[in-house]
């Protein structure tokens, strides 16, 4: 597949829902960590701990078998899977994060007044949803696939370079193929194993879903 690389392009997951209180805050909070989680802030890197403040410009990095849950205020919480790198671009009414590795669950409890975006290089998506998951898949072409699936609400995914827009309803997912084209929404069996819980008080937040399951296993195709 021929694709063009546009470093300036971004994958943006926008949640534009009304929020009665209209809260805004200058910093988020680390509400849960497990394993090796570090916080890069102001040119320095330190181990992240529960209660640490997270400000725009910071980057949260999880190691192997690790995870972190960050409250970005405005009822938006993100859960980082292992081996994830997430930059905090802004917090509050127009919260934005950039995902450059791994996977992230997003949960919007209630309604937002402003916008929320998750960005990855190469594509642009608009989202109206309360629970969705974005993660990098395999690199089959020159750039990695980006998988996105919706647990609650509706997600609108778009690629500005091509003008392609796809609305993804609850229970379905899409693959942004090498960030160049969005597949038709469909139910993926592997997403049933995702752990959508984002609140450590409600049970385990670990998610061990392997994105390799998102790809057809040619050795598992039997027809007699």
């Amino acid at each position: 597949m021929k694709r063009t690389n546009h470093p300036a392009a971004v994958l943006v997951l926008l949640a534009a829902l009304s929020f009665p209180c209209g809260l805004s805050a200058a910093s988020g909070t680390v509400v849960y960590v497990e394993g090796d989680v570090s916080l890069k802030s102001g040119g320095q890197t330190r181990d992240a701990s529960i209660g640490d403040a997270v400000a725009p410009g910071d980057t949260v990095v999880t190691g192997a078998k690790s995870l972190a849950v960050i409250d970005l205020t405005n009822h938006t919480t993100v859960k980082l899977k292992e081996r994830t790198l997430l930059a905090i671009d802004s917090i509050g009414d127009a919260a934005a994060v950039t995902l450059t590795a791994g996977g992230v669950f997003t949960s919007i409890a209630g309604k937002l007044t402003g916008r929320f975006s998750v960005q990855t290089p190469n594509a642009v998506c608009g989202v109206r949803g309360t629970q969705f998951f974005v993660a990098y898949g395999r690199t089959i072409d020159t750039e990695p696939d980006v998988w996105m699936c919706v647990n609650e609400g509706t997600v609108e995914v778009a690629i500005p370079q091509t003008g392609q827009t796809v609305e993804v309803p609850k229970g379905l997912g899409v693959n942004i193929l090498g960030a160049g084209r969005i597949t038709a929404p469909r139910a993926y069996p592997w997403t049933r194993k995702l752990n959508w819980n984002i609140d450590p008080r409600s049970g385990t937040v670990d998610d061990h879903t392997n994105l390799d399951q998102a790809y057809s296993d040619l050795l598992d195709q039997d027809y007699d």
Partner: protein, 258 residues
């Protein structure tokens, strides 16, 4: 001395001529058409299979009819190996002893097996490997090996089937499979030939949806028939002879995942 030798030669050729008249002359190159509906439900390392075969057309039974139903399970021991146990109920199958000597016509007739139900138990082991060095890398070689025991007549046979499949992927999922297979049956406790039946075949499977496939296959089948009991009773000697036919199969495959 020369006279005796000539008489022996004449007697031998006469006997050979007589036996030649009693080798069943099976029609060759006939077309059979099958239909197949299959469900393979995947749950982790387990596959649950149910399969229904029908005969759409055959010269012997032009009307569609039930052929077999199979149920069973496969377990994926390692990524490159599945083992399975299956059971099949079949009707209308023909075996060597279904060739009946028809003395009035000096020919053979088939026993009517259309209403005869037979149970078959099967054990299966199928190693498979992805051939990533081939163009596109989407090639899989599988060697299906199966033991079959017919509970009706006690016949035991071994089947092996090398199979090469190319997968055309669209959006990371199979869109079309093209397979070349060669299925060979070895009789283990019956018949007089090493190979009982073999057929190379081509199959195309179109994935209409993620879980529904439409399949079309064409096979060139060779069956080796060995002397039947009826032939022996008629004192018509023995034979081992081949019958060749074309088999076209149309199928629907449903593959839900849990």
């Amino acid at each position: 001395m020369k006279t005796v030798a000539l008489m022996i030669a004449l007697a031998a050729s006469t006997a050979a001529g007589a036996y030649a008249q009693h080798i069943p002359q099976f029609p060759q190159g006939q077309l059979e058409m099958q239909s197949r509906a299959q469900v393979v439900a995947n749950a982790g390392s387990w596959d649950i299979l149910a399969e229904l075969y029908g005969k759409l057309y055959s010269p012997a039974a032009p009307l569609s009819s039930f052929e077999s139903v199979t149920v069973g399970t496969y377990y994926r021991v390692i990524p490159n190996l599945k083992v399975g146990a299956l059971a099949r109920l079949q009707a209308g199958a023909r075996h060597d002893d279904d060739v009946l000597a028809d003395i009035p016509s000096n020919d053979f007739v088939w026993a009517d097996t259309s209403g005869r139900l037979e149970g078959v138990l099967m054990l299966d082991a199928s190693p498979r490997f992805q051939l990533k060095f081939l163009p596109t890398g989407n090639w899989v070689f599988m060697l299906k090996n199966r033991l079959e025991y017919n509970t009706w007549n006690g016949q035991l046979s071994a089947m092996t089937r090398p199979e090469l499949t190319w997968f055309w992927l669209r959006d990371r999922d199979p869109f079309l499979n093209l397979s070349f297979s060669w299925e060979v049956y070895f009789p283990l406790n019956f018949g007089s030939s090493i190979v009982y039946e073999n057929y190379p075949y081509l199959t195309g499977l179109w994935h209409a949806t993620a879980q529904l496939g439409i399949e079309l296959s064409a096979a060139y089948k060779t069956t080796v028939w060995s002397t039947s009991d009826s032939w022996v009773s008629a004192s018509w000697g023995s034979y081992t002879t081949e019958q060749r036919s074309w088999v076209v199969s149309l199928g629907v495959v449903y593959t839900p995942s849990f």
